[in-house]
């Protein structure tokens, strides 16, 4: 910009008395120069022994809290990898560098940031944008450039239904969350018959609500209510009183953490009670338990990972316990599935690059597709569409201000408690 104003001033000296056309030309030229500069400005050539990973994140805007989590996961991995000397490629050690960009919680910007990172910042590999919608939109760019992309937080199968070769995701499909939950409740609380579903009208929350609808119908529940609320809705009282009048025994709400806290609070205001209340995907976060306080008690949820899991991994973090320990040492808080999945994506890239013994994008892509390993996150194997298909996501319930795992049996910590007041 400074350049622009300087050139404007300089040009003005020479053409004080020229015609109007000259004045307009003078106006247009620096603008054009600025535009070309912005576009053509090439970034510093990547240093010899560094591998650059691009991470477009919603650092500002409504999804900002999610971006922080992802960033923590990536940073933890980069720190650990660099502490060990870096990633070894064909006997040579490369340091890890993560390039961040803010896409302002705005999907078109995520697409733009992805192209900028690939074509300007010369990143070697990409992490996906946050959530299913943005990850899907941005993946069209990385697919065009044939850059392997690991999406840490995209679970909806619709993200992977485009036949893309370079996109991989570490979250299992949505039905792997709803099916075990439905089965547990059917077995443990037979009096639950009527189900009400309230979903945020957004890619992931709506997709998981539709899965829930399928699971509920398949297991013989009576679906009495299914509505969507718009993104950014602040007043849910009308919808909630409608649900209350139907007296469902199971209330299933989807959204992101802020939506869910708001809805929970308004449910309390209306004195809504039900044997089972399930919320996805907020309760897995420590913030939900802290902000929800007593009202968070007995809320059930499911997520893709839980710190109580015990896997002995072959990745850089090793065991789940070790990952939790490292995370706590760095950030002084309990990790949740968002942070763990981000760190996992880094660790997976590291394994694939080391196996490929090369930074060649196609070779690394092939190694990612072939991966079949146990990690701190659980066993990792990608299906033909690029989505992970080897995980058993845990079902849990908030009991005594702590998430207690109910499923899978191997890591079970307690039994389902009935009654949410």
């Amino acid at each position: 910009m400074i350049f622009m104003f300087q050139s404007l001033a300089a040009m003005e000296k020479y053409s004080m008395n020229k015609s109007r056309v000259a004045r307009y030309a003078r106006l247009a030229a620096p603008l054009w120069a600025a535009a070309v500069l912005c576009g053509a400005q090439t970034s510093n050539a990547s240093a010899e022994d560094v591998i650059r990973f691009g991470a477009p994140l919603p650092i500002t805007g409504p999804l900002a809290p999610e971006a922080i989590k992802q960033q923590q996961g990536y940073d933890l991995w980069a720190e650990e990898a660099n502490k060990a000397g870096g990633i070894s490629v064909g006997g040579k050690k490369y340091k890890v560098e993560i390039v961040y960009a803010d896409y302002q919680s705005n999907t078109p910007r995520a697409v733009q940031a992805t192209e900028q990172m690939i074509s300007q910042d010369n990143v070697n590999f990409m992490f996906g944008a946050f959530g299913s919608g943005a990850a899907k939109a941005a993946s069209t760019v990385s697919e065009k450039y044939k850059v392997p992309t690991l999406a840490a937080t995209a679970s909806s199968v619709q993200v992977y239904d485009q036949g893309y070769k370079y996109l991989f995701g570490t979250f299992t499909p949505n039905d792997t969350l709803t099916t075990p939950l439905t089965q547990i409740i059917k077995a443990k609380v037979p009096e639950v018959k009527k189900v009400a579903i309230l979903a945020r009208n957004d890619l992931f929350p709506l997709a998981i609500a539709q899965e829930m609808e399928k699971s509920a119908k398949a297991n013989g529940f009576d679906l009495v209510y299914f509505e969507k609320y718009a993104i950014g809705t602040l007043d849910h009282s009308a919808t909630l009183s409608q649900i209350k009048s139907l007296a469902p025994q199971w209330i299933f709400v989807t959204g992101y953490i802020n939506d869910l806290l708001l809805i929970r609070k308004q449910m309390v205001d209306q004195e809504m009670k039900a044997p089972i209340v399930t919320m996805i995907a907020g309760p897995a976060y420590q913030e939900f338990i802290e902000s929800g306080g007593k009202t968070a008690e007995n809320i059930t949820s499911a997520s893709w990972w839980h710190p109580a899991e015990r896997y002995e991994g072959k990745d850089i973090f090793g065991s789940t316990e070790n990952f939790v320990k490292l995370f706590k040492a760095k950030y002084k808080s309990e990790p949740d599935y968002g942070q763990a999945s981000a760190a996992l994506c880094g660790a997976l890239f590291q394994m694939a690059i080391e196996k490929a013994g090369s930074l060649d994008r196609d070779k690394v892509r092939d190694e990612l597709a072939k991966l079949d390993v146990v990690t701190f996150f659980g066993p990792v194997r990608f299906g033909a569409n690029g989505q992970i298909n080897s995980l058993d996501p845990p079902v849990f319930q908030i009991q005594g201000a702590k998430p207690v795992v109910l499923f899978p049996e191997a890591i079970k910590q307690g039994d389902l408690k009935v009654g949410v007041n």
């Binding site: 910009m1 622009m4 404007l8 003005e12 004080m16 015609s19 109007r20 056309v21 004045r23 307009y24 030309a25 106006l27 247009a28 603008l31 054009w32 600025a34 535009a35 070309v36 912005c38 576009g39 053509a40 650092i59 500002t60 961040y100 960009a101 803010d102 302002q104 705005n106 999907t107 078109p108 697409v111 733009q112 192209e115 900028q116 074509s119 300007q120 919608g133 899907k136 939109a137 069209t140 697919e143 065009k144 450039y145 909806s156 619709q158 239904d161 485009q162 945020r200 009208n201 957004d202 890619l203 929350p205 709506l206 997709a207 969507k228 718009a230 993104i231």
Partner: protein
């Protein structure tokens, strides 16, 4: 043809030479620049010429994106989808305009704003047709390579911009443009002397919608995935107004320059201030409007100096 119109066409020709200088990312910026300029110039027809502060740009952009997106999924060729999007937007806007444009000032602004919300909710709830909040996939074109595709969409958007410019020039030089200027200055008086103000305003509103809608159609094919909160983003209504103000209200050349300047600022600030870019951009815009209340078009050394002293 006036000198400023010639200058505008020259500017467009310069923009068309962009592929000679830059790679795929420069082309992406160029495509966005053309899209912004289409929006700002279209807004100028109803906002600048007729003086009606319309916030409906996002409504027609989203409408075009979804019309083209749905039709592309049905297997229609892109050009046909874009034409259909433009024509339907023209008709719908003209008909809606006949009702909406009876409101004036703030009332009209709010009504046009609600149009965005109404269309967004319609798209959100027509899950079977549009995918609702889950968004709409648009099939990838043939695998013609990164640069070829970037080039294709850049020129598609550029041609739309050229058509928009020609439309704006034609309007400015015609009886319609004169009529709109009369409406801006005193609508009651123009109506008294026999000007069919409702007809003129409706045509202006329709014209301001049709190219925005066509741009939405090209945009949808370009990004391959749209969802309601992205294409019905209220910022698409606000940005064209800011661009027009920055460039110079009413002057097509100024508005086009304003659009390019805005994009340049947005890009530079976004790159350099990862956390506080929105704040910095806002500050720059406020400063620009403070020192250049009549936009870039009023940029004259003498004026500038006087203004600095004045402030």
């Amino acid at each position: 043809m006036t000198k400023s119109n010639i200058a505008l066409l020259v500017l467009l020709a310069v923009v068309a030479s962009l592929p000679l200088f830059g790679g795929a990312y420069a082309l992406r910026l160029g495509t966005i620049a053309c899209m912004y300029a289409i929006m700002a110039l279209s807004w100028n027809v109803v906002g600048g010429f007729a003086g009606y502060p319309s916030f409906a740009t996002a409504a027609f952009f989203g409408f075009g994106a979804y019309t083209a997106g749905v039709l592309l999924n049905k297997g229609l060729p892109l050009w046909l989808c874009v034409v259909i999007a433009a024509v339907t937007a023209l008709l719908i806007a003209a008909v809606l305009g006949a009702a909406l444009l009876r409101l004036r000032g703030h009332y009209f602004a709010i009504a046009s704003l609600s149009l965005v919300e109404v269309l967004r909710e319609l798209v959100n709830n027509a899950t079977d047709l549009t995918g609702g909040g889950m968004g709409l996939n648009i099939p990838l074109g043939s695998g013609s390579g990164v640069l070829a595709e970037a080039m294709f969409f850049f020129y598609a958007m550029w041609i739309l911009l050229l058509l928009t410019v020609l439309m704006v020039m034609a309007v400015a030089g015609s009886k319609l443009g004169f009529g709109l200027a009369c409406i801006r200055q005193n609508e009651t008086a123009s109506s008294m002397v026999g000007l069919n103000t409702t007809l003129y305003k409706s045509i202006a509103f329709g014209l301001s919608a049709c190219f925005v809608s066509a741009a939405g159609g090209v945009y949808a094919a370009w990004v391959h995935y749209i969802d309601p909160s992205d294409v019905f983003d209220i910022l698409y209504s606000v940005k064209p107004i800011v661009m027009a103000l920055m460039g110079g209200l009413g002057s097509p050349l100024g508005v086009a320059c304003g659009a390019f300047l805005y994009l340049g600022l947005e890009e530079v600030v976004w790159r350099n201030y990862i956390q506080i870019h929105t704040g910095v951009l806002g500050l720059i815009i406020v400063l620009l409007l403070l020192f250049l209340p009549h936009g870039l078009i009023s940029l004259r050394p003498a004026n500038l100096w006087r203004r600095v002293k004045h402030v």
